[in-house]
Amino acid sequence: MLRFKAHRPPLGRPLCAISIVVACAAAGMLVSAQAFMFQIANPVAAQDFRFKSAAFVFRTVGCAEPAKPEITGRAEGLVNGSRQSLALKIVPAAAKPGVYAVIQNWPAEGRWVVNLNGSCAGMTAGAVIPVGPKGIVRESSKLLPHAASDAEVEAALKSAPEQGESK
């Protein structure tokens, strides 16, 4: 008859298992965390009468502190064959942190897109939004997990509607 000598298993095995579990949980959290992105909408989404005449409104998602992202933007245009670029007028919604309105300060002629850039805790986001006579052209808007490249902006500009055309 064989007698098996009882012995304690090595300490490394439970620790290894625990480490694997912790690593998997952390990976899961990373995977399910929302990416930092822009979300755009017509002015009614701001629920603020002061923005009723804005070109459009936007907010960021995926930033831990909605009021903290750094946001810049430019209106990029093509007017009578001449390329133009204007700093955007962006107004934060006082009552809704993280919601902003873009007030049109570009001419009512030519083709225009709005190029937004945002950063939050090391993450970046971009958006290229064609604007037509009836507001944003949602179907053609590009919401990006990075700042838009010059090529992306130029491509959007070429296909943007003329301000005098209907979508």
Binding site: Q39, F49, K134
Partner: protein, 269 residues
């Protein structure tokens, strides 16, 4: 020159003097209108001033009726203006800092208001348009049927327990004795609009786009309780609700849940 010494002297005929006098009198008349004309002008000026004053007094609690070819613009305090179209009957019910209210019997108005919500109201036979910071057109016929079309901001149209929230780009039919219908975006497909008009729920759900969740959101509180789940599920398929929107609470028509859900859906409108 000595030529004139050789010219004979001739006396001017009497007719010349008469014509000169007549010309002088005519010139005098052109400088100063006759007393008759001055009196007529004064009467006209006084009538116009009196008429304007009468209108300002009469328009408060008294009806304004525009003609077939005429309209006018009403100033609404410091918050905006209302264009009153032809063949329109309207009166000013209240004109205070905290409330401006019109009564539209029939016809068409276009309001441009820049103010916090719920300062400007337009009453009709079939409900009240409540400004939430907006521009809109409202057309009503004498029977109480009408159409609300919003250009900027939001308008709430309210009748008894019914409320339709109509955003820019959308319109809402108003039924006589029935209040506001389901609002819909003007660019919605005709099949969707017709299905909505005919209350064909099946077709409404089938033909709805993401943007038409405006209409579906309103439908959820107007269909039979047994149909609410179908409407909720269709909205969720088109635009997944945030995690904090409870399906159960929405089906119970919890006001806070529905409000938060609408505000989220507006980001897709």
């Amino acid at each position: 020159m000595k030529i004139r010494e050789h010219l004979p002297l001739v006396e001017a005929p009497e007719s010349i003097w008469a014509s000169i006098e007549a010309a002088l009198e005519a010139k005098e008349r052109r400088r100063w209108p006759s007393l008759r004309w001055r009196l007529a002008f004064a009467v006209l000026a006084i009538s116009m001033i009196a008429g304007t004053l009468w209108w300002r007094v009469a328009s408060r609690d008294h009806w304004i009726q525009t003609g077939a070819n005429a309209g006018l613009t009403l100033r609404i305090g410091d918050i905006g203006s209302v264009e009153v179209g032809p063949n329109t009957r309207v009166r000013v019910v209240a004109d205070r800092v905290d409330q401006h209210r019109l009564d539209l019997a029939h016809g068409a108005i276009y309001a441009r208001i820049s103010a916090p919500p719920r300062l400007f109201f337009v009453e009709t036979h079939s409900g009240t348009a409540v400004d939430l910071g907006c521009e809109y057109g409202l057309t009503m016929d004498a029977d109480g049927a009408g159409l609300l079309r919003v250009s900027r901001g939001w308008v709430s149209f309210e009748w008894q327990q019914l409320e339709s929230l109509v955003p820019a780009g959308a319109e809402c039919r108003i039924a006589p004795g029935g209040g506001p219908g389901i609002p819909y975006f003007e660019d919605a497909p005709e099949a969707f609009k017709n299905a909505l008009k005919n209350l064909d729920l099946e077709r409404v759900l089938d033909s709805a786009r993401v943007r038409d969740t405006l209409s579906l959101w309103h439908l959820i509180s107007r269909v039979a309780p047994g149909d609410r789940a179908r409407v909720f599920d269709r909205i969720a398929a088109l635009s997944p609700p945030p995690e904090d929107i409870s399906r159960e609470q929405a089906l119970k028509l919890d006001p806070e849940t529905l409000r938060r859900w609408r505000e989220e859906l507006a980001w897709t409108w």
